[in-house]
Amino acid sequence: MLNIFKTISSVLCLLLLVSPTSTASAKLSGYLDTEFYAGKSSSTFKAHRFILHASSQVHEHLFFNSELEFEYGANTNNGGEIKIEQAWLDYSFSDAFIQRTGIILIPFGRVNILHDSDLRDATMRPIYAKYIVPTTWMDTGVGFRGTLEKGDWLFTYDAYLINGLNTFSSEQGKGPNESGIRKNRPGFKHDNNQNKAVAARLMASPFLGLELGTSLYHGNYDNDDKHSLSLYGFDVFYKQGPLELISELAQVDIEGQHVDQMFGYYVEGRYHLPASGLSFLTRDFAHPVFTLFARYSAVDTDTSVDNEYDRGQITLGINFRPVESVVYKLEYEWNTELKNETDNDQFVASLAVGF
């Protein structure tokens, strides 16, 4: 428990150091989620995440941002974690050219970037984001990002040089064909090889309501610096009135392992319904909203073997937002597991609060 207070104190000290000058001011924000799970054999509440964002406009052209996560009460002796998910400085030359250095979120697809609980409609991320694109995926490095406009078209790009994913370790317990690449996420102390990885995303939006993205990751993962791991991904977001459709897919190519390819995707539909007619529930909130959502996600963590490493998941749910940053979520998951896994269909409820 002492670690929590030490860490909070350190972050706030840092904020105070950058904040009281005449040119800079610091801001603290974040989110909290509290979850309830009920499966066939167990049920539990979980104090899943308490997140603090500390940011500061150090100068007109220099912007610092960070995200500190306390997971499961930060009880590190009992499954909890304290970790930095982002800590970077943006040096802005123009909207089209911003240089970023630090611990960055890997710009692969949409869900890894927009991972905050109060932004997501479902409590659970798709299984695609667990095994194929290991959300939340962050790394240390340097790169560039920006936004470009041409008429109604809008383009964004992100390109970073980073340490890269770690090796598949025998200590993982499960082989890569069961755990995907989730356990290859890097630490922050040193790279396990000399090769630096690249991660990049390009998004094009021809009109308001349609966004098309493509992402790439490539780098050597092994300690001997001989074998590469690559990810290729595509994502689409479409919005028309209260209807939203979103989908991502990605393929992983791996050298030097008995698993040489993985694949995953999800498709999600959402429909927003105004809740202002239910005055007993919505009080005097300006724009309370219900959202219905349905999602199908599938992953195959070894495409060379038919069906053996295929997982599937159907999620149906509803949520209520009295204001946009507060969301009460209810959902049910039907899961298709691997042969050696137990039935893990479950009911999930949660509250996520952005503050």
Partner: protein
């Protein structure tokens, strides 16, 4: 030996808690962490009234009766007691009015100007100051022009006649609410 002092860990914890609370209180009163000025008031007025020979600035008090009427038409609360309206005039006559709104985004107010034509329809929306880390896409013309031509009876609701921006939903709602307020104010005053 029995120590009269509390354990070191306990002291550290207490000091940390007090320190954290102190820091939070100090930061609570601070200014916005991020602020980008795209248009000053003068620049925004020049965009709204490029042919104006004069711009009249009028301060209007909102009494309780007027506030009630505005809130009834809006469907949500209106918390201003005074409003400043700019009226533009050219050699050919009246060019319409412009209002500056400060609508709360996720954390900070978004400052923008709404130009309303003599026919009481929105003819321009100019985002002047944006203070959030994300969501500045709401300043793009392809979002703002959705408001053009709207009048006081239009819905101006995200997901109905306005498409919100993914990743900037709260800012989209804020702009929509502000434009609706500007139209109703212009209609009632």
């Amino acid at each position: 030996m029995i120590s009269l002092l509390p354990p070191l860990q306990s002291v550290s914890k207490s000091v940390s808690i007090l320190f954290c609370l102190g820091c939070l209180l100090m930061m609570a009163g601070q200014a916005s962490a991020y602020e980008k000025v795209y248009y000053t008031q003068e620049q925004a007025l020049a965009q709204c009234f490029p042919s104006a020979r004069s711009i009249e600035t009028i301060d209007i008090s909102i009494d309780n009766a007027l506030k009630q009427t505005i809130e009834q038409r809006l469907g949500f609360s209106f918390d201003k007691n005074t409003v400043q309206i700019f009226k533009g005039y050219s050699t050919d006559g009246y060019l319409g009015s412009a209002l500056i709104l400060h609508e709360k985004g996720k954390y900070e107010p978004i400052t923008f100007m709404v130009h309303i034509s003599p026919e009481k329809r929105v003819s321009n929306v100019i985002l002047m100051i944006y203070r959030e880390k994300v969501g500045a896409e709401v300043r793009k013309k392809r979002f703002l022009r959705q408001f053009f031509g709207k009048h006081a009876s239009s819905s101006i609701v995200v997901d109905q006649d306005i498409d919100g921006i993914s990743g900037a939903t709260i800012s989209s709602w804020a702009l929509a609410a502000g434009v609706k307020k500007a139209l109703i104010l212009s209609d009632e005053i």
